[in-house]
């Protein structure tokens, strides 16, 4: 059954965004969008108010009647209402969890992966071997007040002592939920099945205990799905029930409300699978930066809780250091004044850069926030699957200490950026350059940004369980993702190797759709842009000896690449990228590269 219309909302901490998708001329397209302030907090304290306001904006813009007396009309009747309504939510700080495992690098890591994959923020990972004394763990649990706890540990049938010990620590701490004093904290137990009765004895009176399948039933197998599903269920049943207005909202939706990052992750996972590609997705917000990746068919998500562009902008400065931020600034600036300016952005987070200088500084900080978040992601996305995987015992022991990162920049096919600083940069060239400078892609990599951050809504659409609409909603989600969500910036081609040793590290022969041909000799330290829209370009890439552009050192590649709003970007700056330590060299390099991409036209070379 074709769906005629879909209304989807994403209730964020500050803004509720609504999109209307309609089936027009044989395809699903995003037709209208609206937004309104989120109304979870006083004086409204009812999330549905913001949803209705956002939907009302869509109603006004589209001329279609969607609302009837403070409710959404479903299914569509004639030209009124929509066939389905769905929503995601990260309002009120999202889902905040604490996880516990016996061995930090094994069950602890698996529990963390399950919680992150479900879209939560992991406040802390407790483990028997984390070096903290029991009373320190207890103090920590009390301080944090999570929304939910996931407890794991031990293989099925193995020793129960350690995981029960963790449960005793939880019981002694008697953790209180963050929202409301009148309900018990949900705890999910996903550990050794032999310990279940002892865990129940220890925790069932104090907490709302739910038992699910073991996250690590045997040492060499990771089983995350039952825990992820349970987290989603409890998020709906408990946490959302406490948030103002959510009970009403849940009664409106045709599918369970998903935590926003969980929905984004689900979409990225699906796109990677469908296209059989490796993807990195990033959402840089005011407080946090989320990174999602799929490499070797394995999905991973990390949240860098305090790397954001407004609320936590000073933390980016603290973690990256001033000199690392300054290396992206192509002019001299008083360092102390700069720290005050960044501090002022933190305390007045909604301000926007009015002058070019302010914009350049903000984008310099964004590069560092993205870079640091990606460093954290690479360290977490190690060789352990997000779904069940058979492995030998020797592999299992290797998993964390010597676990290789799954992130392989040469293998990476697509980077999708979202979040204000990337999606709303005044020039698309700036978005592309920020992505390249911070992620440092190698070989051939497509670049895109999410135009209005609609990945959350599309993610929940793609994951509807109701059989009658599931398939069609999935088709609609993927069509809209492809046609309306992504803004194709172009392709970055970055050879790696000893660049300075070759006179011409990469020779490029291009053939465009109109038959026009172009040859380029990319030199070391050079950045070249070829303006071409989102169309096929035949490319012959001939690296010099010792230089790799994807097929191995010195190996030529014949391929098809795509342009975009920025075009093709040939990056001869080498990896790792050295901008120059001497200020005058640095400033000259930055200006040269900015000029090549027409990044800041007003900035004189």
């Amino acid at each position: 059954m074709k769906l005629r219309s879909i209304l989807a909302t994403d209730c964020g901490s500050t803004t509720t965004k609504a999109i209307l998708i309609e089936y027009v001329d044989g395809e699903y397209r995003l037709t209208y969008r609206g937004e309104a302030p989120t109304t979870v907090e006083a004086p409204f304290e009812d999330v549905t108010r913001g949803v209705l306001n956002a939907a009302m904006e869509v109603e006004e813009l589209s001329g279609r009647k969607i609302l009837d007396d403070d409710s959404i009309i479903t299914p569509q009747k004639g030209d009124s209402g929509v066939d389905i309504y769905i929503s995601t939510s990260s309002a009120g700080g999202g889902l905040q969890m604490m996880v516990a495992g016996v061995v930090k690098s094994m069950s602890g890591e698996s529990a963390e992966r399950a919680a992150l994959g479900a879209g939560s923020i992991v406040m802390d990972v407790l483990a028997s071997n984390d070096g903290r004394k029991p009373h320190e763990k207890i103090t920590r649990i009390r301080q944090l007040r999570p929304d939910m706890i996931l407890l794991s540990g031990g293989v099925d049938g193995g020793t129960t002592k350690h995981v029960v010990e963790l449960a005793e620590i939880l019981a002694a701490a008697n953790p209180q939920p963050r929202l409301g004093q009148d309900y018990k904290l949900p705890v999910i137990y996903a550990g050794n099945n032999k310990a279940t009765s002892d865990i129940e004895k220890t925790l069932s009176d104090l907490t709302d205990l739910d038992v699910t399948e073991n996250i690590r039933p045997v040492l060499e197998k990771e089983n995350l799905k039952p825990s992820r599903d349970k987290i989603h269920d409890l998020f709906m049943e408990h946490v959302m029930q406490q948030a103002p207005g959510y009970k009403k909202l849940m009664s409106w939706t045709d599918a369970p409300i998903m935590p926003t990052p969980g929905a984004v992750g689900a979409l990225i996972e699906m796109v990677a699978k469908k296209e059989n590609i490796s993807v990195v997705g990033v959402d840089i917000g005011g407080a946090t930066t989320d990174i999602f990746s799929v490499f070797q068919e394995q999905f991973n998500r990390t949240v860098s809780a305090n790397l954001g562009m407004s609320y936590s902008i000073c933390n980016v400065l603290a973690e990256a250091s001033l000199s690392n931020v300054l290396r992206w600034v192509p002019f001299d600036i008083d360092e102390k004044e700069l720290t005050n300016r960044i501090g002022n952005k933190m305390i007045r987070p909604t301000t926007v850069p009015q002058s070019l200088e302010e914009l350049v500084i903000e984008q310099a900080i964004a590069r560092e926030a993205l870079r640091l978040s990606f460093v954290q992601h690479k360290a977490f996305a190690v060789n352990l699957k997000g779904v069940q995987k058979e492995r030998t015992i020797s592999d299992a022991f290797e998993q964390s200490d010597s676990g290789q990162s799954l992130v392989d920049m040469m293998e990476l096919d697509l980077i999708v950026g979202s979040g204000g600083v990337l999606s709303h940069a005044p020039r698309r060239e700036q978005s592309a350059k920020m992505l390249i400078d911070s992620f440092l892609p190698e070989g051939i990599t497509s670049l895109a940004v999410d135009s209005i951050f609609m990945m959350p809504q599309l993610g929940v659409m793609a994951n509807i369980d109701k059989k009658s609409i599931a398939e069609e909603a999935r088709v609609a989600a993927l069509e809209v993702f492809e046609k309306d969500c992504l803004i194709r910036l172009g392709t970055c081609i970055a050879p790696v190797g000893s660049m300075s040793k070759s006179e011409v590290p990469l020779k490029i022969n291009l053939e465009f759709k109109n038959g026009e041909k172009k040859s380029i000799n990319l030199q070391s330290g050079e950045l070249i842009r070829v303006e071409v829209g989102y169309e096929e370009v035949k490319a012959e890439l001939i690296p010099a000896k010792g230089i790799n552009v994807g097929a191995g050192k010195g190996e030529k590649i014949d391929t098809i690449i795509f342009g975009g709003q920025v075009g093709l970007i040939f990056d001869g700056r080498g990896r790792p990228l050295d901008v120059g330590s001497d200020p005058s060299v640095r400033i000259s390099n930055l200006k040269k590269w900015a000029s090549a991409l027409n990044e800041y036209p007003e900035l004189k070379e």
């Binding site: 500050t14 979870v40 907090e41 309002a91 009120g92 700080g93 029991p134 009373h135 207890i138 103090t139 129960t160 002592k161 029960v164 010990e165 005793e168 620590i169 019981a171 002694a172 701490a173 008697n174 209180q176 004093q181 002892d198 220890t202 407080a287 305090n306 609320y311 936590s312 000073c314 933390n315 980016v316 400065l317 603290a318 973690e319 102390k336 004044e337 720290t339 005050n340 300016r341 960044i342 501090g343 002022n344 952005k345 933190m346 305390i347 007045r348 987070p349 909604t350 301000t351 926007v352 850069p353 009015q354 002058s355 070019l356 302010e358 914009l359 709303h424 005044p426 020039r427 007003e602």
Partner: protein, 375 residues
């Protein structure tokens, strides 16, 4: 009339102030509705559960966890003192006994026969909450706290450190554009709330700490000096729990920025009056700004009371403050709020306001303006 919602900081001369005073856990409330309270009067108290110590008796005595109950000398629920015998093995013919002593005084909460752990809970920690401001009890939140009502001046700062404090206001700066220097602060200012103009340096703030000054209110402070005050780099603006004798409230921002005219005038008028100050700041969803509350005593309650605490947003004629460079810190009057998006120097397309600053007109993004709420 064109209209825009931009939250601003409140600078109210005479307004109704409601303060919720809530316990972290349920407890008992000692105040009654309508009663007059002093700032330091305790209005509610509770006991936080005591700290917990875990002693693994099975490991320490080298016995099976299932046998721990047999070696225990105390049962669940028993009170125990520090170094009291907790458990003891029978030994061999009464000799070679091993024992475990309690590391703390407390109550035995549980004895596990799975892990061999004994949980000892220390005595509860009493927590009391005071009224914080002078006023009367308006509402009782059963078992949790009260809402105190008062009337007076209410000033919000942009950022602060240090928790709740109180003292008499002493204006030291000669103008809103002059600096509060270390030389101006003396031991005579102990327990007072000092008002400066555009800036306080780290040295001057340290002097205030040394002189046990209750609070400092100034226009600006250096972000990079915070590290020395706090002992860590402030990455996220969540403060209030610092153990500082002198709470600091910054009204404008980081750097040297003249204090808003209304703020300075109101503080000057309040010179010598008792005020409550709180540096606690939280800039996240559910924003908390630092504040200065100056209740009006009964004798002077005839001020023109602010009708309602409503936020009307920005309209033509609103007084606004520029909160990002260029013109950061300057106060202007809104002349026009054009509906269409305008391109800034940064090429960002934004909705703007045309404002008048000292007779000159400027186009400023609306999100870079803050309405100065005055009464």
């Amino acid at each position: 009339m064109a209209h825009s919602y931009t939250p601003g900081l409140k600078v109210l001369k005479n307004t109704k102030i409601l303060k919720e005073r809530r316990l972290p856990l349920k407890g008992s409330v000692s105040a009654s509705i309508g009663s007059e309270v002093r700032p330091d009067e305790i209005i509610a108290r509770t006991d936080l559960p005591g700290n917990v110590q875990m002693v693994n008796v099975a490991n320490l005595l080298n016995v099976d966890a299932s046998d721990v109950k047999q070696v225990m000398l105390m049962d669940t629920g028993s009170k125990i003192d520090k170094n009291d015998l907790l458990a003891e093995t029978k030994g061999l013919f009464g000799f070679f006994k091993s024992n475990v002593k309690s590391p703390v005084a407390g109550t035995i909460e549980s004895i596990s026969d799975v892990t061999g752990q004994v949980v000892i809970r220390e005595a509860p920690l009493p927590v009391e909450i005071d009224a914080y401001i002078q006023g009367s009890v308006d509402q009782i939140i059963e078992n949790e706290g009260v809402v105190i009502k008062s009337k007076g001046a209410f000033i919000q700062g942009i950022f602060g450190v240090g928790g709740e404090s109180r003292g008499k206001i002493k204006v030291l700066a000669s103008s809103r554009d002059s600096e509060l220097t270390a030389e101006m602060i003396t031991s005579d200012h102990e327990g007072m709330i000092l008002v400066g103009g555009n800036f306080i340096s780290l040295d001057a703030y340290k002097k205030a700490l040394a002189c046990n000054v209750a609070g400092v209110v100034v226009g600006g402070f250096n972000y990079y000096d915070l590290e020395e005050v706090l002992g860590y780099t402030l990455g996220v603006a969540i403060t209030g729990s610092e153990d500082l004798v002198t709470s600091l409230v910054v009204t404008e921002g980081y750097g040297k920025i003249q204090m808003g005219q209304q703020t300075y005038d109101l503080l000057s008028e309040s010179n010598g009056r008792l005020a409550s100050i709180n540096g606690a700041t939280q800039i996240r969803a559910g924003v908390i700004r630092p504040e200065i509350i100056i209740p009006i005593s009964d004798a002077s309650k005839n001020g023109n009371e602010n009708k309602a605490e409503k936020t009307t947003g920005m309209t033509d004629g609103s007084t606004v403050r520029v909160i990002r460079s260029p013109n950061f810190g300057k106060i202007g009057i809104v002349k026009e709020l054009p509906a269409e998006l305008r391109k800034m120097e940064s090429e960002t397309m934004v909705r703007v306001a045309i404002i008048d600053i000292d007779g000159k007109q400027f186009e400023v993004p609306r999100s870079n303006l803050e309405v100065v709420e005055i009464d």
